[in-house]
Amino acid sequence: MQSIYKSLTKIVDEEFVSNQKEELYIYSQDPGMMEPHEPDFVVMPKTTEEVQEIVKLANKEKIPIVPVGGSLSLSGLVIPHQGGIVVDLRRMDQVLEVNEESRYIVFEAGLTTGKLKAYLEKYHPLLRFSIPDAPPSATVVGNIVIHGQGRLTQQYGFNSDMVTGMEVVLPTGEVCKIGSGSVSPYWFSLAPLPDLAGLFLGWFGTTGIITKMGLKLYPKKKLRDIEVFAVEDPNLVPDVIQRVTHTEMSEDIFTGAQPYPPVFKDIIMIGILLTGDSKEELEFKRKMIWDALQCHIDSKEGGFMMMTPDVKQDLLEMPTSSTTRFADVKKGGGFEYCGPIIPVEKFPEAFTRLLEITKKYGITFGNAGRVIGRSHSMMFSFGYPFNRADPENIERTKNALHDTNVASLDIGGVPWKPEVPAQKMIMEKMDKSTLELMQRIKKVLDPNGIMNPGNWEVE
């Protein structure tokens, strides 16, 4: 092991290589509930060449290697289950190009969503990207490789649908460009080439390490506002979503429900965000949305909520810190969630299962959903705060998480960014030929099985 350490210090400046207990401890876990496992080394490269050399070393020595971004999936996707080398990519955080005319950006893999937001606001104020609800320390690439969603997901799909190119270090050490950037200096599109990006999206770093990425940027409107439509009956939610998405007037549509404070009990809120370059544009969109939902207001089944400026500001915030604050509602420092991607019409069933599970385990919950595309699907989050200092509470929450994964698959959904046990549930249910194809692809790309082992693995 000492020789590996020495080899790593020849690749990366010694001050960015550690095999000390404290770094191994911190990189053994994420804020979720998965069992920790320590790596043997943590290394922070600065360049693609350094990543390449680290991967070559790991492949030669057959040591596991785990690429890490913000480490905020909460599902333990970067826990080094078999030890090895954790590659923290966050020193690679430069913006390399912004093309205002073709509206794309190229950046390094360790760039955080917070820094990208600040960068665009400062240098390209008319452009934006789809900011997720994760804390600003989440990396953009990390969010994309787990098929994350963000503020523009209702308009343009998963954040991974916005990728225009990549640079990837393959498990065998080759550096590969994906998309138009492989044949042109411009990273504007994956099409019309064969879509090789799919070999790296949703694979949780088991097929290679993304070192650079091209991403679509979108027009940034001057004004934003929000309306919140409230209903008590979960069966109405799909219809509300249908009606609002039909108008094509909203920026983002999310759902939210929680039992506390009591004023929110039994209410499902549907947040509808609006943007415009003028008050007239904003008011026009608002009117279209109000008109679309007038039938539910007339039937007294739903209505728009009044909001104080503070609440409104909270809901408009990007990234939204209220998501993070959920971890402290029980003063326990943790929350875990399963956020399956489900057909929109399955919202009522998912909601019912959520209430059943929380009742069974005596735990509280927060539900947050986000519409993906024009009602093409939605993420439905079963969120459970837990107390990190209370093992019994953790155990109950773990059991609830297990039941939630089962329920998600039962209703026809697929758990999003699934932790290893949920990955196994998915693979058990998966079409056998599909599963075999996945394993075959993995074997071809990573013959020595060094990349983030434990994930997407059939035992």
Partner: protein
């Protein structure tokens, strides 16, 4: 219980907000900037402290370095979205206290505390050299009718930059007719850094000693040179009764405004570095700026990270002496002087002797001596008065 807050520290989610400035332009945590491992972020540090308190990890020199490398700049308090944000620094001090009690601290921190205990200053300098800079400046006595006690502090007494500051503050007070005196070799450490390194017993001893001295001398008002001393006396001592404490910039601002002090044109572009113990700890952002803007010909160009969002020089919590954040181009002081230089300013202005030492050294290390000067506000004011 091993230390205060042991039943609360698990509440940190390690979300990482604490690393940033408020608009996310950059990482704003000094130790995370310096080392970049997650272990050196506030969240990482809190998780390690919790792990140590539970016995999941054992104490090590490396763990102690991580815990003591926090400059206690309060950026994390400012940025953390949780309701416990105000407690974060106290949790870290709690862990340090526990390490101090067990004698499990980095050697350099031990030497720092030992020197203060024995000699009243962190370098182990002779007490009788405390006023070596103060030729011609009166001692504060009970018999004289002085308006202010000018509390100079350790950096002001022994470090070259601090002495320059102390001289110009004294010069200004004399020039503007303010009566004051110093304690000279009778002065003791203010104890702010002692408290922040977790030596609560020694801090109480120093605080009580200083309070007793002030009361014996019938002190009514204190001017501190250092924001660190200002913070400890104003917020941590307790027991000062009617004695009022001011940072010198507050007094300067008041005197300049009320006395119509005539200042000459200096024709210079400057930028200003907010010290943590003046800014984030005490919300004193305007008086220094009012003084700077009041000097004719001085153009103040703010750095990207300023006021509540300021980036610490890395000297807080005793690091201006034991410097666990030094020896790297990523050292906070070096990052900060690069940021100051990028504004296009010719002069970096400070109002804290610790920041002065840290940043002047960084300017030299960065090779910016010919491009970026550094001065304290008092020096700038005196220059302006003397040019008249």
């Amino acid at each position: 219980m091993m230390y205060d807050y042991a039943d609360q520290i698990h509440r940190c989610f390690k979300c990482g907000y604490c690393k940033f400035s408020n608009n996310y332009t950059d990482f704003n945590c000094p130790s995370y900037n310096r080392f970049r491992f997650e272990s050196y972020s506030t969240g990482g540090r809190l998780w390690l402290i919790w792990a140590w308190s539970k016995g999941e990890i054992e104490w090590s020199e490396h763990l102690a370095n991580i815990v003591f490398s926090c400059a206690a700049c309060r950026n994390c308090v400012e940025q953390c979205p949780m309701r416990f944000n105000e407690d974060i620094v106290d949790w870290i001090i709690g862990a340090r206290s526990d390490m101090v009690e067990k004698g499990l601290i980095p050697a350099s921190v031990g030497e720092f505390l030992d020197n203060i205990h024995k000699y009243g200053n962190p370098w182990g300098m002779p007490r009788n050299e405390r006023d070596i800079w103060a030729e011609g400046i009166n001692r504060y006595t009970i018999d004289d009718d002085n308006e202010y006690l000018f509390y100079v502090g350790c950096v002001g007494s022994y470090e070259k930059q601090g002495q320059q500051m102390a001289k110009s503050v004294a010069d200004f007070l004399r020039t503007t007719g303010v009566s004051f005196g110093i304690l000279g070799s009778d002065e003791d450490c203010d104890g702010n850094e002692v408290l922040f390194t977790g030596e609560k017993g020694l801090f109480r001893e120093l605080a009580d000693k200083n309070i007793e001295k002030f009361k014996e001398l019938n002190v009514k008002k204190i001017i501190t040179l250092s924001p660190h001393a200002y913070n400890s006396m104003k917020n941590k001592y307790g027991g000062l009764g009617e004695i009022k404490v001011y940072h010198y910039t507050q007094v300067f601002s008041e005197i300049i405004n009320s006395n119509n002090i005539e200042l000459s044109d200096l024709n210079i572009k400057v930028t200003y570095h907010d010290p943590c113990f003046l800014g984030r700890y005490n919300s004193i952002y305007e008086p220094p700026r009012e003084i700077i803007k009041g000097i004719p010909g001085v153009e103040l160009i703010e750095m990207e990270r300023t006021r509540e969002n300021s980036f610490c020089c890395g000297g807080g919590s005793g690091n201006f002496v034991f410097d666990l954040l030094g020896r790297s181009s990523n050292s906070p002081s070096r990052i900060r002087v690069r940021e100051a230089y990028e504004t296009g300013a010719e002069l970096l202005i400070v109002s804290c002797p610790s920041c002065y030492c840290m940043l002047e050294e960084a300017i030299k290390t960065e090779g910016l001596e010919e491009k970026l000067m550094i001065k304290d506000i008092s020096e700038l004011v005196i220059e302006s008065i003397k040019n008249k």
